[in-house]
């Protein structure tokens, strides 16, 4: 059974979580050549905001799960 506090993503472009992760990797990972030309990328700031949203979403999901479990315990299930 999947653990409630682990979310796995595999890099599929159709997945919103993966989209942010892909952009993060493409923009921040890999070899940098000194002297290469630098051109800005539109919406880069949004990528970083998006990654924060991803992590916040994980936290929110956990709180919902925990709250659900607590309610179940309160009901004696």
């Amino acid at each position: 059974m999947a653990s409630p506090n682990v979310i796995s993503i595999g890099g599929e472009p159709g997945d919103e979580l993966s989209l942010l992760d892909i952009l993060d990797h493409v923009l921040n990972s890999g070899v940098v050549i000194q002297g290469s030309i630098v051109i800005s990328l539109g919406g880069v700031d949004l990528v970083y905001v998006g990654l924060n949203v991803v992590l916040t979403s994980v936290e929110t999901a956990l709180r919902v799960i925990n709250a659900g479990e607590q309610k179940a315990l309160d009901r004696g299930e």
Partner: protein, 212 residues
Amino acid sequence: MSCAAKLLAYCVVQNSEDHAPSVGVRGAPLQSMQMETLRCIYSPLIPPQEFNQDDALRFHAVLNSVFDQQSIIPFRFPTLLQNETALQEHLREKLGVYSADLHRLSDMVQMELRIAANQEYAAPASSGIEYLQSKQQHSRALQTASRRARDVLGDLVAEWKERDTVNGLRCYALVERSKVTSFRQKMQATNFSGPCAVLSSGPWPATEFLHE
């Protein structure tokens, strides 16, 4: 090639007959430059004033189709070089390092974990001591989760690196390509049972384990 055109560099691979897609960012034809045991994939491109998300995703798609077949050393997007001579000089300069990295990392991929502590640890502190205590508690929770992940993954991980980030801890695991499924299964089956959330992703090219 027009005088305004530059070269968009995608990645370096070991020389092989593997196939890359024929077109890259903005429909530019993909070409390759060989130097001894290396092959660099690039495309001539008249750079726009600003690249957009679709360009970045197309770049990723090219990398991914090559990475599906073998290990790659990707360039950060967008890396633009003046001309073939500049690319040739770069490859000549890095030939030894790139060859050694590709040999060492062949059949290896990078799996990643983002570990974030829940918001209770980020609650505003009313004093300096409280702030430091909260920060220490936060750091301990992240380290405990990281240790738990390493224990669970055991021999699946050939090498492990960590970086502190604003949101928590980012962990990079070097894993054999054939063991990716086991990695995912082990992570999915693990309950961290603490105050941390874990986001697992991959496989990615092993950029954190390059010598550069």
